[in-house]
Symmetry: C2
Subunit: 221 residues, 2 copies
DNA sequence: TAATTTTTGTAGCGAACGATGCAGAAATCA
DNA sequence: TGATTTCTGCATCGTTCGCTACAAAAATTA
């Protein structure tokens, strides 16, 4: 039971020149801790007591800074997407070809999902968050739209590759994007069950064989 | 916690003609409803009140018949595996070739996970059950072992195919089995997000292209 | 019928949940 | 410094959680 009671220095730069006592804890650092907690335990299984202990603050401070558990989760989701999604999407967006983009996405996912790219929980927070559809409909919708973003990125990149001639026009872009999305989603669950980076990389390589067969012009029927 | 109370001979058909009032509800039907509830909402999000309402009984009857929420979930998981897993594994075990076995598994999964094979919640109960690792370690272990069974089935069948000569000995059985497992897991999440049967079947077809490329003897390096 | 046995509905237990009231502590401004 | 403003720790709110004691109710046996 560590007590992270140390103050977490306040950033005087961002502290508004308001009168009265400024916030004594670093909001971003607290949000980062909450994010990791939600990430590893899920929304329902994470209690306010868990959060306040991890953030080193009391419940009133939490509610003053974030409003509610729902709002905190929403901010944590935003924090996650802002700070961690780049680990798997940077090379995707920088790749010259769609094939290399998808390969990078899956290989980097294999590394990120198994915690090999830093100190982070296993699996993808967005993929694994099965926020109950009961009573938290807005959060569920937010998570679902986050998952839909993955499909959008894939379809846009694939359609561009089709325009460029990298992919034959006969290919079903939507199906191929769905396939990649499926593999990435499945890898999160395997990572949670203890599969290591090498195993997921093997999975990514087999998946790329499916890509090659699907995008091979000679394979058209 | 869990005291082993009197065993409560529940098999009412085969139990000796007990004196006193017999159970007024169908245990199997109640278990089926509980299973669907756990399946669609998850363990934590399903309360005893939800269960008793869906089962049409009061809390004392629930606890007399099943012991605890944990035990009920364990029975529900067993009920699920007994009644629903056959929908996706029957053709797998009956197939003549490993390829047809895997193809059937994925295609039948596409149908079952989207609720096209009857009145059932979307996705796989085993795959989507992210039972928190906190406080419910035994349930988590049970679910994890259920997921491991999928990998076992796949590896056994693939190894058999390798012995039969269907698959080249150069193929990494473990990686290929992990790949199939990954696709099936990912399909559950897509199904939960609203993907329909045709989409998942397309995914399965693309995945099979990966299988073909991987098991093609000409592709050995 | 009465006696026996078991279930069921009601009502509520302690604990934990998400969320707050309050008063003192602390930092800024005058 | 004192005045003002805001945050923080403690205690607790009302609710819901999983779970159970209790006694009436119901079905079987005699």
């Amino acid at each position: 039971m560590q007590k992270s009671k140390q103050p977490i220095k306040v950033d005087k730069k961002t502290s508004a020149r308001g009168r009265g006592r400024p916030r004594a804890f670093d909001r971003e650092a607290a949000l980062a801790r909450a994010t990791q907690l939600f990430w590893s335990k899920g929304y329902e299984a994470t209690s306010i007591a868990d959060l306040t202990e991890a953030m080193g603050i009391g419940p009133p401070s939490l509610y003053a800074a974030f409003g509610s558990k729902d709002a905190l989760y929403a901010e944590a989701l935003h924090h996650y997407r802002k700070h961690y999604e780049a680990l798997v999407w940077d090379k995707f967006f920088a790749a010259d070809t769609a094939r290399e983009a998808v390969r990078s996405l899956l290989m980097d996912s294999a590394a990120a999902l198994t915690g090999c790219l830093g100190d982070m929980p296993l699996g993808c927070m967005v993929t694994l968050s099965s926020v109950g559809s009961e009573g938290h409909s807005e959060l569920g919708e937010q998570v679902r739209s986050a998952r839909a973003a993955t499909l959008d990125h894939l379809e846009i990149r694939l359609r561009q590759a089709m325009t460029n001639g990298e992919i034959p026009t006969s290919v079903d872009i939507h199906a191929l994007a769905r396939f990649v999305q499926t593999v990435q989603n499945g890898m999160s669950i395997l990572a949670r069950d203890g599969a290591d980076r090498a195993e997921l990389e093997d999975v990514a390589r087999v998946a790329m064989l499916g890509w090659d067969a699907r995008t091979d012009p000679a394979a058209d029927a």
